[in-house]
């Protein structure tokens, strides 16, 4: 199989695009796709400052590498969650190695245990009945938003890829989780106290972000988080892969046509403006109920165990 552009041996074949490319041309193709996605969904402009949430995994490091390569002012934010078995230590080391290999890349590190008093596993032990993954999501969203607002960034960029978005969409569609179906998007606009969120990799499959990382020599953390509730997501991804094997480009159609159909037919409407938001008494971030936000309630000892239960539906990793 030959590269469509130069005739050399192809490194990767993308059946859904009927496109095989050699390593060199694939490394040029990926940034072009990301740039198109940024433009198509009006994620951010060339002069805006972006905060990239990096985990040490293939997707977020690929995203950071691509944004830097495209000339964006993209700083990194790494949140050390204190996951055991060397997981957080290794993932932080991968991020630091990335920074060393990218002169001019700026990284901010937030150590959850040092800053707030407990790691995620410790927090999960204290909060019996709450899963580590749901706590982790809550903590990360809060810290990312705080860092973006404090730093004056135009947007937080995350490394969600097409497979991630497809898996979340399938999960939420099977449950008809309307508020989540209404909100799943490549861009979540800024609201008072909430930074804009963007997902520039939503048109790339995870095999493409992995191939990019391999070809670029980006050393990423390969193993899953030991706490990962991966089984559910992996199950949906397997189903989507089976559909894909029978009908190429199903993954693209499922997600991208969903976005188009929702817009065209005005589906899954949730009136955000009708939601009355209040500033959290402690951190100031918006929350739907007066008092402390869900994040601050986690750390309030006098309210131990009283935080709201997890909602049905999922926003993905």
């Amino acid at each position: 199989m030959k590269c469509k552009l130069c005739g050399k041996t192809a490194a990767i074949n993308m059946r859904q695009h009927r496109l095989a490319l050699c390593g060199e041309h694939f490394l040029g193709w990926v940034p072009t796709q990301v740039a198109r996605t940024i433009k198509r969904y009006r994620m951010f402009g060339p002069d805006e400052r972006i905060l990239v949430a990096v985990s040490g995994g293939k997707d977020s490091l690929t995203l950071w590498d691509v944004l830097l390569g495209l000339g964006y002012h993209a700083d990194g934010l790494y949140i050390n969650l204190g996951i055991g078995n060397g997981y957080s230590a290794e993932s932080e080391a991968k991020v630091r190695a990335f920074v060393d290999a990218h002169p001019g890349a700026h990284l901010r590190i937030v150590d959850v245990a040092a800053e707030y008093g407990a790691s995620i596993p410790e927090l999960a032990r204290r909060r019996r009945g709450r899963k580590a993954c749901s706590l982790c999501g809550l903590v990360k969203r809060h810290i990312m938003n705080q860092a973006a607002c404090d730093g004056g960034y135009a947007a937080i960029a995350t490394g969600h890829n097409l497979d991630d978005e497809d898996a979340v969409l399938l999960q939420n569609a099977l449950r008809w989780s309307v508020p989540y179906l209404a909100r799943q998007a490549p861009v979540l606009p800024a609201e008072p106290g909430l930074a804009r969120k963007v997902k520039p990799l939503v048109r790339l499959r995870e095999r493409e972000t992995a191939a990019y990382a391999l070809l670029r020599g980006i050393d990423y953390i390969y193993e899953e988080c030991p706490h990962a509730e991966g089984a559910t997501t992996l199950f949906y991804k397997e189903i989507l892969n089976q559909l894909e094997a029978r009908s190429p480009a199903t993954k693209e159609m499922f997600y991208l046509n969903f976005l188009e159909a929702r817009e065209q037919y005005d589906l899954f409407h949730v009136d955000r403006e009708a939601l009355e938001m209040h500033p959290c008494q402690r951190c100031g971030q918006p929350t739907s109920a007066p008092g402390l936000c869900a994040f601050c309630r986690l750390w309030a000892r006098d309210e131990e165990g009283s935080e709201a239960p997890g909602r049905e539906g999922t926003e993905g990793k």
Binding site: T209, A210, A211, L234
Partner: protein, 62 residues
């Protein structure tokens, strides 16, 4: 030919494509990338008897 994935190794005969080899060991060609001698190879590459191919999982479940 050797196929290596995480802590598993399979011995397969040469002459088959990467895609067929991946399927033969029960994996999904969409979910892994194949690397031979440190080089990413496409799924239609025909593997030789002496090839050693490392499969890299691309799926993240977080």
């Amino acid at each position: 030919m050797k196929l290596i994935y995480r802590d598993k190794t399979w011995e397969l005969r040469g002459g088959m494509t990467v895609r067929d080899a991946i399927r033969k060991v029960g994996l999904d060609p969409e979910a892994v990338l194949a690397v031979r001698d440190g080089v990413l190879i496409n799924e239609e590459t025909i593997l030789g008897e002496d090839d050693v191919v490392r499969l890299v999982a691309v799926v993240s479940g977080g």
